[in-house]
Symmetry: C2
Subunit: 209 residues, 2 copies
């Protein structure tokens, strides 16, 4: 079982014999799995625990892994000078990677950080490429997953482009209500491109209505 | 040859026997084409001329087509009340659609508008789905194209999230220098989330340095 090469540096602890059922179920939502593909996943997927606040990825480096979140919460963020801007927040049952790692291995423009203690399943991008080569059907599943994640990314970008705080928070609640009382408000404020004070004011207004 | 159903409403004029070589070449960049796939494309791709300012897609409706830009420039925009916010600008040799049409045919949250007189090649999303069904290799090409377009979308979102006008314009020039003296400044300003006055000030500063 391969372990992420940068595991030690970033303080990630491997899990022996992780239960990879959640990943198999995710794939099965899109296409039946044969024994050969399943055995490929069992051989290549590893697991790890990542402590709260640890970085899974640092901007400027290529992302060599794709993660499935079994437990916990993570965020993506970019830097503008000293300022740190949250670009997405993700919790259980979701995939996490940098799209720049999939697209010609260019360096990530973002950082990925654990917001809670996380349990993750991991595959290297090299293994993912081998999966695409050996099992053509993996391209079909990946295409559908990419369409879904791309649409989600456009919805996030839509929120980022809105100018009124109330509109931003309304759209946030439409798709991310489950994050509203779980994630520290400073990250939600940063994600929505507003100050903590503005977010608190808007939340008060929404809780009254 | 199928024509887009909404063609008449939106003022799109069909082209008879369009030259589809640019689309074939785009695909060939990713994978060799066999005669059967090529003939599928020849049968299903139509062409159209779209006048400057016309809408190709209106928010709230599903996008039933994918376009290849042979000539001209288009933009995506979203509405926030009376305000209109440009989300992307695209010129020749690029694909245009709403990702929400590919992902479960949900209605688009954006509008697509011609910024110049455009010549486009067109395929319906139904035909695209048939392509994926009949030719598994199309999923491989689509996966790679989606990875590229998704990465581009994240770069656009990154610019939208920056707070300083100079940083935004610097990143815009890095990937979109070819648009800087072609597209009316009001659309570039809107894309960058700044006023026309701010954009003019920043451009003056950049032209001196």
């Amino acid at each position: 079982m391969k372990q992420p090469a940068e595991a030690v540096e970033t303080g990630i602890v491997p899990i022996l014999k992780p239960d990879i059922t959640p990943v198999l179920n995710l794939i099965r939502n899109y296409h039946p799995l044969n024994a050969e593909v399943e055995s490929f996943f069992r051989e290549r997927i590893s697991g790890c625990l990542v402590s709260k606040r640890k970085l899974l990825l640092k901007e400027g480096t290529p992302c060599h892994h794709i993660y499935y979140v079994v437990k916990g919460a993570l965020r993506g963020f970019v830097k503008e000078g000293a300022k740190d801007i949250t670009t997405w927040i993700t919790v259980e049952n979701d995939l996490v990677t940098s799209i720049f790692g999939l697209d010609e291995e260019s360096p990530a423009i973002e950082n990925i950080q654990a917001l809670e203690n996380c349990e993750l399943l991991v595959m290297t991008i090299d293994d993912l490429e081998e999966l695409y080569e050996r099992f053509p059907i993996a391209n079909n599943v990946a295409r559908k997953l990419l369409q879904r994640y791309y649409a989600d990314a456009e919805r996030r970008a839509f929120i980022a482009r809105l100018t009124k705080a109330e509109n931003k928070y309304r759209h946030f609640l439409l798709r991310h209500r489950h994050l509203a009382n779980r994630i520290p408000l400073k990250y939600i404020a940063s994600y929505l491109g507003m100050t903590l004070e503005t977010l608190s004011r808007v939340r008060k207004k929404f809780s009254r209505s």
